[in-house]
Symmetry: C2
Subunit: 348 residues, 2 copies
Amino acid sequence: MLADLRIPVVVAPMAGGASTPELVTAVGAAGGFGFLAAGYLSAEAVAGHLAKTRELGPHPFGVNLFVPGPESAADLRGYAASLRAEADRYAVALGDPRWEDDDYAAKLDLVVRERVPVVSFTFGCPEPAVVRRLRDNGIQVVVTVTTPAEARIAVDAGADVLCVQGADAGAHRGLFVDDGSPAGGPSYGLLTALRLVLEAVDVPVIATGGLMHGADIAAVLTAGAVAAQLGTAFLRCPEAGTAAVHREALAGDRPTEFTRAFTGRPARGLVNRFLVEHSADAPSAYPQLHHLTKPLRAAANRAGDPEATSLWAGQAYSLCRDLPAAELLARLDGEARDAVSRARRRWP
Amino acid sequence: MLADLRIPVVVAPMAGGASTPELVTAVGAAGGFGFLAAGYLSAEAVAGHLAKTRELGPHPFGVNLFVPGPESAADLRGYAASLRAEADRYAVALGDPRWEDDDYAAKLDLVVRERVPVVSFTFGCPEPAVVRRLRDNGIQVVVTVTTPAEARIAVDAGADVLCVQGADAGAHRGLFVDDGSPAGGPSYGLLTALRLVLEAVDVPVIATGGLMHGADIAAVLTAGAVAAQLGTAFLRCPEAGTAAVHREALAGDRPTEFTRAFTGRPARGLVNRFLVEHSADAPSAYPQLHHLTKPLRAAANRAGDPEATSLWAGQAYSLCRDLPAAELLARLDGEARDAVSRARRRWP
C-alpha cells in the first residue's frame, strides 16, 4: 500500500496533538497517506480518533504505536529537584514521573479489532509474535529504524516496511535503545541512513528526516525509498493540531538541538530556555520525564510562552509552508516532478 | 566547468597523501573531475604534484587550499603532557605544536601562475580580494561550506560554486569556525544541508558527505546539486595514496566519530584507541595538534598499527569498493542512470 501511493508522501505520526483526524483525512484525500499518532493517548482516545477519521472519509490511513521500553534505573530525584523553580515560575506542581507502557496491549487489540490497514512502530521493534498477529489480520507492519542494525532486527521480526529516520528529523529519534549520548545513538543524516539500510535489508523503505521540498522527496525516491515521510513540513497546515506557540516558533529562526529535558528520550526541537537550562541534567528515563514535565509544558502553552514547552522541529523547519495540506501535497508533487525532469536531462 | 562534467562526480581533495596525481588523472580521464589536495604540503611540493598531473594527461583538475585561521589561544601543554605515554609507546618525540598558515600566500601565487582551472577552499572563506584575483585570472572559485550562513558569506565574497558538506562526510569538517562543541558546529546531514543552502543562495552547488553509491549521486543531483563530490568512496582505489593501515581499516567494521585528537579540528574517522583515549581532552587548536601528533601518526603507520593514526572515513565507508578509479566511476554512473530511470517511472 505504502509503495504505490498516488503521491508518495506519508505524513508522519506526530504525537501530542499535531496529527489530527482532519490532517490525516486531508492528506489521504489528496493522494498521500497519513498516520494517527497513538502515543501518549489512552486506547479509548485512540479509538475516538480512529472513528472520527473514518467518519471524515474513506481514505486508508495508519496508526503509530510507541513500543514500550524497560524502566530506566536512573534516580530522578535530582532532575525533579532541578525543576522546582520551573514549577514555581509556572505555578504548577510537577507531574508524577511514573513509568508506564503507553497502553500498548490495549492499542494492539484496538488496531487488530479495527483492521487498521497500516500500523507503524516507534522506539523499538515489536515482538515477532506481535508482528505475526498484525500481519495475520491483514495489517501492514512498519517499523521505524535509525541504523542498519535496527533495520536487520526489524526485518528479522517480520516487518513489511521500514521507516528510516535520519538524525535531521524533528521530535523523537526512533532509536530502539537510548545509549545516553547527546544524540542517543549513531547519528546518520537521512541519505546515509537510507543507503546503509537499503544495503542491509531487502524490504520497501520509507525515508524520513528533514524533508521539506518536493525535490528532496524525489531525491530519496531516486536513492531507493518507496515513499517520503514528512512531519515538520505539515505542522503549520491549518488541519494540524499544532499548539499556537509551537506554530509561531516555527516561523522564527531558532536553531534546533537534541534534548531529553522534556521526555527523557532524545528529540530534536527548537532551542528555548528550558532546553538550554535542563538538557545537560536530564537523565535517560522515558516516559518518566514526559510525565514529570507535562504540567509545565501545558502551563507554558496556556501562557503562550515558548520557553518551557517542547517545540519539536526538523533541521530544515525554516522551509515550513503555511498551506492547507492538500495544496502543500500538490506543490510537493509538482516540485518532485520538476526535479526528476532535471535529473532526466542529466541521464537521458 | 564543474556544472557540465560528463560524469557529474568530483573526487574530493584528500590531504595527507590519498589524492595523488595518478588518482586525479584517472578520474579526469574517465569523465569525472579530480582535486589535488594542497593542504599540509609546501608550495614547492604542490608545484611538483601539479607538474606531475599535467604530465600524466590533459584533463582539467582542481587544487584545494586550506584557508588559514587565527591562532588558537588554547594552552596546549596539558594535551601535550597527556600524549607523553603515546610518544614513549611509539618511541618518537612529539612534534612542535606550532601555528602556521599552510604556505597560503605562496600557494595562491602558484595556482594563479599555473592557471589551475578550479581552486577550492576549505576551513574558511577566502577574502573577496583573493577571490577576485583568482577569477580575474580565469580560475573558477569553489568554497566548501557546511551551513546556509557560511554559504551566504562565500557567495558575498564572490565564490562561483559552493561545495556543501554534510556531517556524514569523512575527514575534516569544512567549518569556517570550530565552535568547540563535539561536532564543531551545526551538524546537518547532506540532504538537509544541501536544501538549506540551495534556498539561501543562487550559485551552482556540489554536494558532498557520505556518498558511496550512484543512486545517491543521482539523488543529490535530483535535489538540485550540479555534481556530487566523493572522497571515502575512492580511498581504496589502487591510484589513491591511502596508507596501508587506513586502506585495511576501511574493510573492517569500526564505527566512525568526530575527533579533534589528531589535528585540533573536528574530523570524522574510524574509532581507534587514540581517538577514544584523547578526543575528550583535545583542544580546538589547528594546525598545532596536527604538528604535535604527526610523529606519532607516522610511527603508527610505519608499524602497521591502526590504533594511533587518523583513519578518516565517511559514515557509509562500509560501501567502499576496491576498484580502479575509472571502473568505479563507470559503475557509479550506471547506478545513477538506473536510479533516475526508477524515479521517471514514478513521475513519468
